[in-house]
C-alpha cells in the first residue's frame, strides 16, 4: 500500500537568541531527524514524555512550524514546497485536534460560527448546504443541533472536545492529527471521546496521528506506535509487537513506570533514575545513554540508527533485547 504521509529526516530546531542583536547562541533540538510512514486508515500513536518532541512533530506536519530540514510527502506530493492557494487547498486534507478544548475554541464566536468557519475559509458550499452539514455533524458527534447558537463557555470539557472534533472533520480530511485530545478530560468522559474517535474513523475512513503521553490510551486506540525520546523516535512497531515484545530500554522503562489498576498496593520501584536531559545540549551519542541500564562505552559516541530488527519492528539501540514483556 502507498503511504498517505511519508516523513523523511524531519528536524525542527528552535533558535535561542540572546543579547542586543538577538544573536543565535544555540538551539532547542525539539525534533531531530525523524522518519516514518503513515498508511491510509491506520492510527499511529506517538508517545513520550514532556519535551520529547511529539507535539512539535504534529505541529510541523501541519506547517504551524516550518521545519529546519527534512521532507514531508503527503498524497504523493512534496507538502513542504506548497505555497499560497495550493497549500490552503491541501491543508483541507490535514486537520488537527488540540489538547485544551478551552483554548482552541474562540470564546467570542457562537458554535455555528466556529463550525462554519472551515467552509468559509475554503469557500465551500452554499449557506444552506453549510447549515445542513453543520447540523448533521453536530448529531454525528453526539450534540444537539439546538446548541448551535450557544458560546463555547456554555459547554463542558467533553462537549467542547466533541465540538473541536466536529470542526476538524467537517472538511472530510484524510489525515487527522490529534494532540493529546483526551488528556484534559475526566476518565469517564475520556472513554466517550475515545469511542467517538473510533466511530468517526470507521465512518469517514480517517487516518489518525494520535499524540499522547498515556500508554494505556495509546494501546487502546492505535494500530502502530512510535516511542519518542528527546526529539527522536527510539522504537516503532505494531501495537501487539510493541507491548508483547518491547525492545528499546527506554520503552521498557516507560512501560514499567505505569501504575497498574486493580492489582492492589505494591512497592513502587522507579524504573528510571534521573531526569530527561535538556534538548538544548542533548547527551552525545545515544540521547538515552546516561539513564540506560544496558549502556556500553560505544553508546556515548554515535547515535544508533533506527533499524528493523524484526518484521516492521524498528529499534534505535544496538544492545536492544527482546523477551521482557508485561
Amino acid at each position: 500500500m502507498e503511504p498517505l504521509l511519508r516523513v523523511k529526516n524531519l528536524s525542527k530546531f528552535f533558535p535561542i537568541r540572546k543579547g542586543l542583536f538577538l544573536r543565535e547562541v544555540g538551539s532547542v533540538r525539539a525534533l531531530d531527524d525523524v522518519s516514518f510512514d503513515l498508511y491510509p486508515g491506520e492510527t499511529l500513536g506517538l508517545v513520550g514524555e514532556s519535551g520529547c518532541g511529539k507535539s512539535t512533530l504534529g505541529r510541523t506536519l501541519v506547517r504551524l512550524y516550518e521545519p529546519t530540514q527534512g521532507e514531508v510527502e503527503f498524497l504523493g506530493e512534496n507538502f513542504l514546497k506548497l505555497k499560497g492557494a495550493d497549500l490552503r487547498a491541501r491543508r483541507k486534507d490535514i486537520q488537527m485536534i488540540f489538547q485544551d478544548p478551552f483554548a482552541s475554541l474562540d470564546p467570542r464566536m457562537t458554535i455555528n460560527q466556529i463550525l462554519t468557519e472551515p467552509f468559509r475559509v475554503h469557500g465551500l458550499h452554499s449557506r444552506t448546504e453549510q447549515d445542513r452539514l453543520v447540523k448533521e455533524m453536530m448529531e454525528i458527534v453526539g450534540l444537539k443541533a439546538s446548541y448551535l447558537d450557544r458560546y463555547p463557555h456554555e459547554f463542558s470539557g467533553g462537549q467542547r472536545q466533541r465540538l473541536s472534533i466536529a470542526r476538524s472533520i467537517l472538511l472530510k480530511p484524510k489525515l487527522v492529527i490529534a494532540d493529546e485530545p483526551v488528556s484534559a478530560l475526566d476518565v469517564s468522559i475520556q472513554a466517550q471521546i475515545l469511542n467517538l474517535m473510533k466511530d468517526l474513523q470507521k465512518e469517514f475512513n480517517l487516518t489518525y496521528l494520535f499524540i499522547s503521553h498515556d500508554l494505556s490510551v495509546v494501546e487502546h486506540l492505535c494500530d502502530r506506535i512510535a516511542v519518542m525520546y528527546l526529539g527522536k523516535i527510539v522504537e516503532l512497531a505494531s501495537r501487539d509487537e510493541l507491548f508483547k515484545n518491547p525492545r528499546h530500554p527506554y520503552t521498557k522503562a516507560l512501560m514499567a513506570a505505569i501504575p497498574r489498576v486493580g492489582f492492589g498496593k505494591r512497592e513502587m520501584k522507579a524504573s528510571l533514575q534521573g531526569e530527561v536531559p535538556s534538548p538544548i545540549s542533548p547527551p552525545s551519542g545515544c540521547h538515552f545513554h546516561p539513564r540506560c541500564a544496558v549502556k556500553q562505552s560505544s553508546c556515548s559516541v554515535k547515535y544508533p540508527e533506527l533499524i528493523e530488527v524484526a518484521p516492521a519492528h524498528f529499534v534505535a539501540c544496538p544492545f536492544h533485547s527482546g523477551g521482557t514483556s508485561l
Partner: protein, 324 residues
C-alpha cells in the same frame, strides 16, 4: 487494625456564591487508621480537594465548613481558631500540593522556605535550622542539597520541586499528611520516582496519609484503602484490592470499567453516559441516579446512607451490586 488517627463525620462544606449556597461537600465520612494510606479518588468537582482544604483550615472565602466533625487524635480540627490551627499545621498535619510551582514562594529560596516553619515551631538557631533543612533535602533524594538550599524554585525541575515540597511538608515530622494530586503534573517515569520516595518515607516515619488523585492506577498501587467520591459525597470505601475486584457502587464499577488498562484489549470502552452534575443541578436523592443503569423511584427520594455492607466495605447505594 490499629486505632483511628483521623475520624471525619458528616463533613459539610458550603460555598456561599451569588448563585446561592452550594454544598461542595454534603456529608463526607471516613476514618483513617494510624500508619495507613487512604486514597481518595473521583472526577473533577467531586469534592476530593475541598475535603483536604476543609481539614487543613485553608478554605478561602466564600467557602465555609458548615457541619460535621474531624477528630485528629480526639481534637476536632474544624473547631480550631486560626491561631490554634497555626500550631497544628506543619507540626501535626501537613499538605503536599499538585503544582509545586504555585505552592512554593517564587521569591524565597528553597532553604528559606523550609527554615521558615522550623523557626515558627521550634527554638532552632539559624545554623541548626539550615543543617536540618539540608538534611531533609538530602533525605528526599535531591542531589547536592547544600547548593539546592540556596536555589529558587524556578531553578529546579518539576520532579525536584515536588521533592523540595515533600521535604518542606515533612520537616517537622507531622503524623498526618495530606497529599493532593502530588504526581499529576509529572511525567510517568518521574511520577514513579516520587511515588517510590513517598512510600519509603511514609514507612520510615510511620506517617498516616490521605492521598488524593484522579488516577485509578496510582491510587491502586499506593493505598491501603480507597474512598470513591461523587458530587460531594462518599460513594464507596473499601480495602484497595477489594474495591477494584468487587466494586459494589454502580459508579465505582462503571468508572473502573471505563479506563483503558494496559494489556486488556477491548474494542469499545464501556462509558458512563452524561456528565457529572454541577453542584447547582445536583438532583434530590442520589447524585448519580441520572447516569445509573439501576435507577429506581427510590433513588430520587432520599440520599442513600453510607452503610457498611460487609466488614470494612461501605457503600452509599440503594441497589448495591453483588459482591464478587
Amino acid at each position: 487494625m490499629s486505632e483511628p488517627l483521623l475520624q471525619v463525620e458528616g463533613l459539610e462544606t458550603t460555598f456561599f456564591t451569588k448563585a446561592g449556597a452550594l454544598k461542595a461537600l454534603d456529608g463526607v465520612s471516613y476514618t483513617i487508621h494510624r500508619g495507613e494510606v487512604l486514597g481518595i479518588v473521583g472526577e473533577s468537582g467531586c469534592g476530593k480537594s475541598v475535603t483536604s482544604y476543609s481539614l487543613m483550615g485553608l478554605l478561602d472565602h466564600p467557602g465555609k465548613v458548615t457541619g460535621g466533625r474531624a477528630l485528629l487524635n480526639g481534637v476536632d480540627l474544624l473547631s480550631l481558631t486560626e491561631e490554634e490551627y497555626q500550631k497544628v499545621r506543619a507540626k501535626k498535619i501537613a499538605m503536599i500540593f499538585q503544582e509545586p510551582m504555585t505552592a512554593l514562594n517564587p521569591v524565597l529560596t528553597i532553604g528559606q522556605q523550609i527554615d521558615e516553619q522550623l523557626f515558627q515551631h521550634t527554638d532552632l538557631t539559624p545554623a541548626q535550622a539550615r543543617k536540618h533543612s539540608i538534611e531533609m533535602l538530602a533525605k528526599v533524594g535531591i542531589p547536592s542539597p547544600e547548593e539546592r538550599y540556596s536555589n529558587y524554585p524556578h531553578q529546579l525541575s518539576g520532579g525536584m520541586r515536588q521533592r523540595a515540597m515533600i521535604a518542606m511538608a515533612l520537616a517537622l515530622g507531622p503524623e498526618f499528611l495530606i497529599a493532593d494530586e502530588p504526581t499529576t503534573a509529572l511525567d510517568v517515569t518521574i511520577q514513579a520516582q516520587i511515588l517510590e520516595l513517598f512510600q519509603s518515607l511514609q514507612k520510615e516515619m510511620g506517617m498516616t496519609v490521605q492521598f488524593i488523585t484522579h488516577d485509578l492506577g496510582v491510587i491502586s498501587e499506593i493505598s491501603d484503602r480507597v474512598m470513591v467520591m461523587y458530587a460531594g459525597r462518599s460513594a464507596e470505601l473499601a480495602p484497595t484490592e477489594e474495591l477494584f475486584r468487587s466494586p459494589r457502587h454502580p459508579y465505582t464499577a462503571s468508572l473502573v470499567r471505563s479506563i483503558p488498562v494496559l494489556g486488556q484489549r477491548v474494542d469499545r470502552l464501556p462509558t458512563i453516559e452524561g456528565v457529572v452534575p454541577s453542584l447547582m443541578e445536583r438532583p434530590d436523592g442520589c447524585a448519580f441516579q441520572n447516569r445509573c443503569p439501576y435507577q429506581t423511584a427510590e433513588c430520587a427520594q432520599a440520599v442513600p446512607p453510607f452503610t457498611e455492607l460487609s466488614p470494612g466495605h461501605f457503600v452509599a447505594c440503594f441497589h448495591p451490586l453483588e459482591a464478587k
